[in-house]
C-alpha cells in the first residue's frame, strides 16, 4: 500500500469515509423511493434551524462525547470496549442511588455526588471484564457484550422489583428531588437557547473530560503506559509495564466515562432512571471514537456530527416518510467505512499520493 502523508491520514481519511457513508445512505434513501434532498433539508433545519433543534443536537452530542471518550481510552490500550451500554446504564443506577436516598442540600453537591457515583458504578462494570481478560484470558469483546445483557436484566429487575414506587405501573424510579440547570436556564446562554431544551451543564463536564483524557493519554506516565501497551503488548511487558494493572485501569476509566454519560440523560433530562436509559449511546460511542480517530478533539467533532444525525434523524422520522431508523443505517455505514474499511479508504487515497515516476529504470539497462 502506498503510504500517505500524515495530514491526509488525519483529515482526508475520515472525511472520505464519511463521504462514502453519505453516498451509501443516499442510495438507500433512493432505493426506498424517497428524496435524499428532502431528507437532508429536514435534517439540517430540524437539527440546526432552531433553538429547540440545536438544543437537542448538543444534548445528544454531550452523551456521545462521554461514550466516544470511553471507547477511545480502551482503544488506546488495544481493547475494544463494546460494553458502553451496560456501563452507562449502571452509571444511571449509581445516580439513582445517590439522588434517591440522600437529601442533598444544594444541587451543586448533588451534581458532584452524581458524577462520582456514575463514574464509580460504570468503572466497576468496565473493570470486571477488564479483570477477566487480564487474569483469566476471556475475550473482552464477548465479555462486554455479555455484560450489556446482564446489566440490562439487572436494571429491569431493580426497576420492577425494588426501586419502583408503590402503585406505579411503569418500570422506573421515582423522580429525583434535585436536577441540574439546563443551558436555557442560565442567564446569558438563555439568549441562545430561547426555548426549554434538554442540553444542560453536563456538556461542560463532557468538555472538561475531553481535556482530561487528552492530558492523561499524552501528558502522564500512565497514559504513556496505556498507549505503549496498546501498541505492543510484548514490548510493553518487556519495558516493565504491568499488563493486569494497565488493562484494568484502562477499562475502569473507560467504564467511568461511559457511566458519566448518565449525568446528561438520567439526571439532566429524564430526572429519574428509566429502563434502557442509555438508548444506544454506548454503541454510538464506537462510531464516534472511530470517526474521531481516537483523539478527544476528533471525538468532540464526531459527537457533534452524530448529535446532528440523531436529532435530524428524529425530525426525519416525524416529518417525512423515511423511518427514524435511517440514523442507525448511517451509524452502521460510518463504523463500516471508518473502522473496518480503513485500509480500503487509505489505499484509495494512496493512488493520489503516488510519487511521480522518475526514470530510474535506465540504470539497470
Amino acid at each position: 500500500m502506498q503510504p500517505i502523508p500524515r495530514w491526509a491520514d488525519i483529515l482526508l481519511v475520515p472525511l472520505v469515509s464519511v463521504l462514502l457513508a453519505a453516498i451509501c445512505a443516499t442510495l438507500v434513501i433512493l432505493a426506498i423511493g424517497q428524496s435524499p434532498w428532502e431528507a437532508l433539508t429536514t435534517m439540517v433545519t430540524g437539527a440546526l434551524g432552531s433553538a429547540y433543534g440545536w438544543g437537542y443536537t448538543l444534548y445528544y452530542a454531550t452523551s456521545f462525547i462521554f461514550t466516544g471518550l470511553a471507547v477511545t481510552i480502551a482503544f488506546h490500550a488495544g481493547l475494544f470496549n463494546i460494553g458502553g451500554e451496560g456501563q452507562a446504564q449502571l452509571g444511571g443506577l449509581g445516580i439513582a442511588m445517590v439522588l434517591l436516598f440522600v437529601p442533598w442540600p444544594h444541587w451543586t453537591i448533588a451534581f458532584t455526588a452524581a458524577i462520582l457515583a456514575s463514574a464509580a458504578f460504570g468503572a466497576i462494570w468496565g473493570a470486571i471484564p477488564g479483570w477477566l481478560q487480564a487474569k483469566r484470558g476471556s475475550h473482552i469483546v464477548i465479555t462486554t457484550i455479555m455484560f450489556n445483557y446482564i446489566a440490562y436484566a439487572l436494571i429491569v429487575w431493580i426497576l420492577v422489583d425494588i426501586l419502583r414506587p408503590p402503585g406505579q405501573a411503569e418500570p422506573a424510579t421515582a423522580r429525583f428531588a434535585t436536577g441540574i440547570p439546563a443551558l436555557s436556564d442560565i442567564p446569558g446562554l438563555s439568549l441562545i437557547f430561547t426555548s426549554p431544551v434538554p442540553v444542560n451543564i453536563s456538556l461542560f463536564v463532557a468538555l472538561i473530560a475531553c481535556v482530561g483524557v487528552w492530558a492523561l493519554l499524552w501528558r502522564t506516565p500512565l497514559g504513556y503506559e496505556i498507549r505503549a501497551f496498546g501498541k505492543s503488548e510484548p514490548a510493553a511487558r518487556y519495558a516493565g509495564i504491568r499488563p493486569v494493572r494497565t488493562i484494568m485501569i484502562a477499562m475502569a476509566l473507560s467504564g467511568a466515562l461511559a457511566g458519566m454519560m448518565s449525568i446528561n440523560n438520567v439526571m439532566g433530562e429524564s430526572g429519574r432512571l428509566l429502563q434502557n436509559s442509555s438508548e444506544g449511546a454506548g454503541f454510538i460511542g464506537i462510531a464516534v471514537a472511530l470517526m474521531g480517530r481516537s483523539h478527544p478533539l476528533g471525538v468532540v467533532l464526531a459527537a457533534l456530527l452524530f448529535g446532528f444525525l440523531y436529532q435530524g434523524g428524529a425530525e426525519i422520522g416525524l416529518w417525512t416518510q423515511i423511518p427514524i431508523d435511517l440514523r442507525v443505517v448511517v451509524q452502521g455505514l460510518v463504523i463500516l467505512f471508518t473502522g473496518a474499511l480503513g485500509y480500503m479508504v487509505r489505499s484509495m487515497l494512496g493512488v493520489f499520493f503516488r510519487p511521480r515516476k522518475v526514470a530510474t529504470g535506465k540504470a539497470v539497462a
Binding site: 438507500v28 483469566r136 452502521g332 474499511l341
Partner: protein
C-alpha cells in the same frame, strides 16, 4: 411439575433453540476458519425481513427461505470483503453490519408494506407449518416415550429438523473431509496452509458463505415458522446468545447442539415463571432467568467452568508474506 408440563417446556425448548442452533453452527463455521463473526445477529435480521417479505409476496415459505438465505449471504460477503479482502477489524465489521441490518430492515419493510416497519402477517403456505412425524398419533398411547415422541419430537416445522440435521452434517464436513481439515487449519495456522498451496482467502470465503447460509435459515425460521412475519428487531439478541453458546460449546458441533438446547431451555423457563416458582418455591425474578445464559458464558469464558480456547488464528486477518 407434572409430566405434561415438562413436555410443554421441552417442546418450546426445541422451538426456541432452533434459531440459536442454526446461528451457533453458522458462527462455528466462520470462527473455525479464523474469522470472528459478531454479525450473526445482523445476518439473522436481514434474513428474517427478506423471508417475511418474500413469503408474503409469493405466498411460498420456500421462496421466503431462499430470499432469507440470499440476503444473509450478501451480508456475509460484505463481512468477507471488509475483513478478509481489506483486512479490516473483524469485530468492528461485525458491529457495523449489525447496525446496518437493524436500520435497513425497518426501512425496507416500511417502504414495501407501510405497516410500521413490519411485514404483513403470514398464513397458510407462506409459513412453514408443523409436520406430524409418522406414527406420532399411534404411539401417543405408549406411556412416557409415546407422549414424548408425539409432543416434543413430532409437530415442528421442517426447519427444526433441518437444523438438527445440520449438526451431524457440520461435524462430518469439518472433521471427516479434506475441506474441513483445511478449513480448521486455516483457523489455526493460516501460514502453514498457505505454504501447502491451499488458498487461505478462498477457504475463508467458503466458510463465511456457509455462515451466511445457516444464518439465513435461522432468520427465515424466525419470520416464517416461529412467528408469522418480520417485526422490528425481532431477533432480539439471539445472534449474541448463539455466540455465547458457541463459546459454551467450545467450537464443536455436538457441543453447539447441547449448548443451544440448554439456552433454549432457559428461554422456555423464562416464559413460564409459574413453573419455576413451583419448583424452587421461591420467587426467582424473570430477568435472572433471562440473564442466566450470559452469566454462564462469562463464567465459561473466564475458565471457571471448563476452559474455552478459541481457534488460534481467530480475529487476525491473514497477510501473505512476500
Amino acid at each position: 411439575m407434572d409430566y405434561g408440563t415438562l413436555l410443554q417446556l421441552l417442546d418450546s425448548t426445541l422451538r426456541l433453540a432452533t434459531p440459536l442452533l442454526l446461528a451457533c453452527l453458522a458462527g462455528l463455521w466462520s470462527e473455525r476458519a479464523g474469522v470472528f463473526d459478531i454479525g450473526l445477529e445482523g445476518k439473522m435480521l436481514v434474513a428474517a425481513m427478506s423471508s417475511g417479505a418474500v413469503a408474503f409476496l409469493t405466498g411460498s415459505a420456500w421462496a421466503g427461505l431462499a430470499a432469507g438465505i440470499g440476503a444473509s449471504v450478501v451480508w456475509a460477503v460484505l463481512h468477507g470483503i471488509a475483513s478478509i479482502t481489506f483486512r479490516g477489524n473483524q469485530l468492528i465489521s461485525g458491529v457495523a453490519l449489525n447496525f446496518l441490518a437493524s436500520g435497513i430492515t425497518v426501512l425496507v419493510a416500511q417502504a414495501a408494506f407501510s405497516q410500521g416497519g413490519r411485514t404483513p402477517a403470514l398464513s397458510g403456505a407462506a409459513r412453514f407449518n408443523e409436520i406430524t412425524l409418522p406414527f406420532a398419533d399411534t404411539l401417543r398411547g405408549v406411556p412416557i416415550f409415546g407422549r414424548f415422541y408425539a409432543e416434543v419430537i413430532s409437530g415442528h416445522s421442517i426447519l427444526v429438523y433441518m437444523a438438527l440435521l445440520a449438526v451431524p452434517v457440520t461435524w462430518w464436513l469439518l472433521f471427516r473431509t479434506r475441506f474441513g481439515l483445511r478449513l480448521r487449519a486455516v483457523g489455526e495456522n493460516p501460514a502453514a496452509v498457505d505454504t501447502a498451496g491451499v488458498s487461505v482467502i478462498g477457504t475463508r470465503y467458503a466458510a463465511v458463505l456457509i455462515t451466511g447460509l445457516l444464518c439465513g435459515m435461522a432468520g427465515a425460521y424466525m419470520a416464517t415458522a416461529l412467528q408469522a412475519g418480520f417485526g422490528r428487531e425481532m431477533t432480539a439478541g439471539r445472534g449474541y446468545i448463539a455466540l455465547a453458546a458457541l463459546i459454551f460449546a467450545k467450537w464443536r458441533p455436538w457441543g453447539a447442539l447441547w449448548a443451544t438446547l440448554l439456552f433454549g431451555f432457559f428461554q422456555a423457563l423464562a416464559l413460564r415463571p409459574d413453573v419455576v416458582a413451583g419448583i424452587t418455591r421461591t420467587n426467582i425474578p424473570v430477568p435472572a432467568l433471562e440473564a442466566l445464559p450470559y452469566v454462564l458464558t462469562v463464567l465459561v469464558l473466564a475458565g471457571f467452568v471448563g476452559k474455552a480456547i478459541p481457534p488460534r488464528a481467530g480475529g487476525e486477518p491473514y497477510i501473505k508474506e512476500r
